[in-house]
Homo-oligomer: 331 residues x 2
């Protein structure tokens, strides 16, 4: 049987238990050109919240009644496709279900458990890592000696952003929630400073941690923290808009950055990006990051929950901060 | 005697009559290296409102008790400086006063009444024109065939932005207040469409005027119009932040653009700039614009008020829309 998590309705604010329903269908049969993946891990990412809204975005909303869209990793157990053989491991957009049917050119790509554990291919060597890589290098255009601030600094994307910025010779300040995460990014990931937004006055802490201001702010959270970061921009600073997790479950209007005129005063720019645009360079970037990992310069941490029946509780951890590293659901 | 308009106090919201006081002092004496300008016209620009606040910005606030900072144009009537001779006409930061003392390398530069009337050197061939030029070309990076939206479209900066975009082969939509201004930008300046924000539903009008969205939005106003423009961005659009006149007299917090996540979805950028950074290219740009004017491709319009005693009333016209073209005070 194939257990599938179905999007039952569009949530308003935080998703509730009945946002999804679990159904069982027959294990799918494959046709010529297809292959069957037995999925072992599902990726949980803040962007999933956006895909559940009935709003035009960079990809269409998940239709009601469809399997919940998600990145995944698993093993090929049947194949009528020459490219992908039984016994190989793949990552792709398998959705929240036990078995996914794939075919060529739909985003499935091979992953290698001899390089890193499978969940790492959903995190540092997967979409979050690639998002960090292209966001901080191509959009942020960091240069040696610059001051970089990253929010969500202990998260799947942020933790890689901060480490890459350190690798490139930047001074890196991270904002995270709680003393444990702050200790983690400073002591294990090598950040120069950490700001605990739950227990510190962020405005004062920013002033102290970056007395001369910021060259790059990588924003995963939006809201108040984006607004405070804007007050610290240096000339020609770049603000990379990667996400706005503080706003995703808003039932009111999104809070726009009141201090955006700092862009004018400081001749600065605020720029968004979508990782899908960099697909042709994924492989090269992932290989470079794998090398950094092998050399101990890039650390990866996954928070692994278990069981499709726990999807709802696990999903909420994306927003309540109760996770340590990239959030993955083991099936 | 030298009449001078002195900044007497910092306004909250719109300046009131007692924001400034008029004083008379002796006509200044010049020292070696200096020259004396008898000023004929003073420039009135929205940015002046920002300089009156006690806030760190791209230039220091005007100190209380100082002559009100302003661009100006006038004739050299005495000179102990080899560069600037009696009888030459100059533009510079003379402030709101009858006589200004200048020296080399303080922003004074020659203007030529044989090319255009003196007030034009405070408008299309002065700071507003240069702001338009570098903003739309260097920051907006318009390309032939693109769709350009400009707010404050009949104003000193906006009217030049729109005309340059037309010259470069773009489709140009302007937003202005009232049927008269809308008619002016369409019929005299050649805009493809005009939106009257005072009498039209801007959201619907934008949809109609740019059905396929916008490549560049040149923002002079901020507030609601910026937010609506963000909903119409095309992929890789550029939002040029030039000003935010709707917010300058706010006594509440500035309204940030709630729809800024459109930057993410559309891989777009929002960028600020300050014209002072382009000083080394002023001359080249002004010459190109003078050529366009001579060929009838760039039209200029000044709204000339008279008398230093009318400064306050004239200043308010910047914000209540009661002006037609670049606002200038004749002394």
């Amino acid at each position: 049987m194939n257990r599938q998590l179905i999007l039952a309705k569009r949530p308003v604010g935080l998703p509730e238990k009945d946002t999804w329903t679990l159904q069982e269908t027959a294990k799918p049969e494959i046709k010529e050109g297809e292959f069957l993946v037995k999925q072992s891990h599902i990726s949980l990412d803040p962007a999933m919240r956006g895909w559940m809204n009935d709003v035009k975005s960079y990809i269409p909303p998940i239709p009601i009644g469809d399997v919940m869209r998600a990145g995944s990793v698993g093993e090929v157990i049947e194949s009528k496709n020459e490219e992908y053989k039984v016994g190989e491991f793949l990552s792709g957009w398998g959705g929240v279900q036990d078995y996914a049917v794939g075919q060529s050119n739909t985003g499935w790509h091979k992953v290698f458990p001899e390089i890193a554990p499978l969940p790492t291919f959903l995190g540092t060597l997967g979409m979050p890592g690639l998002t960090a890589y292209f966001g901080i290098l191509n959009v942020g255009q960091i240069k040696e000696g610059e001051v970089v601030l990253v929010s969500g600094a202990a998260g799947a994307v942020g933790s890689v952003v901060g480490q890459i910025a350190k690798l490139k010779g930047c001074t890196v300040v991270g904002i995270a929630g709680g003393p444990e995460k702050c200790q983690y990014i400073k002591e294990e990931l090598g950040y120069d400073a950490a700001i605990d937004y739950k227990n510190e006055d962020v405005r004062a802490a920013l002033k102290k941690a970056c007395p001369k201001g910021l060259d790059v702010y990588f924003d995963n959270v939006g809201g108040e923290i984006l607004d405070l970061a804007l007050t610290r921009l240096r000339m020609r600073a770049r603000v990379v808009i990667c996400g706005a997790i503080s706003q995703y479950n808003n039932t009111d209007a999104i809070k726009g950055p009141s201090n955006y005129l700092s862009l004018l005063v400081n001749r600065a720019r605020m720029e968004g990006f979508v990782i899908l645009d960099y697909a042709k360079d994924y492989k090269k970037a992932a290989m470079e990051m794998a090398q950094w990992m092998a050399m101990g310069q890039l650390k990866s941490k996954e928070h692994i929950a278990e069981g499709m029946e726990n999807f709802h509780d696990t999903f909420l951890r994306l927003f309540n901060g109760e996770k340590r590293g990239k959030l993955v659901l083991k099936l």
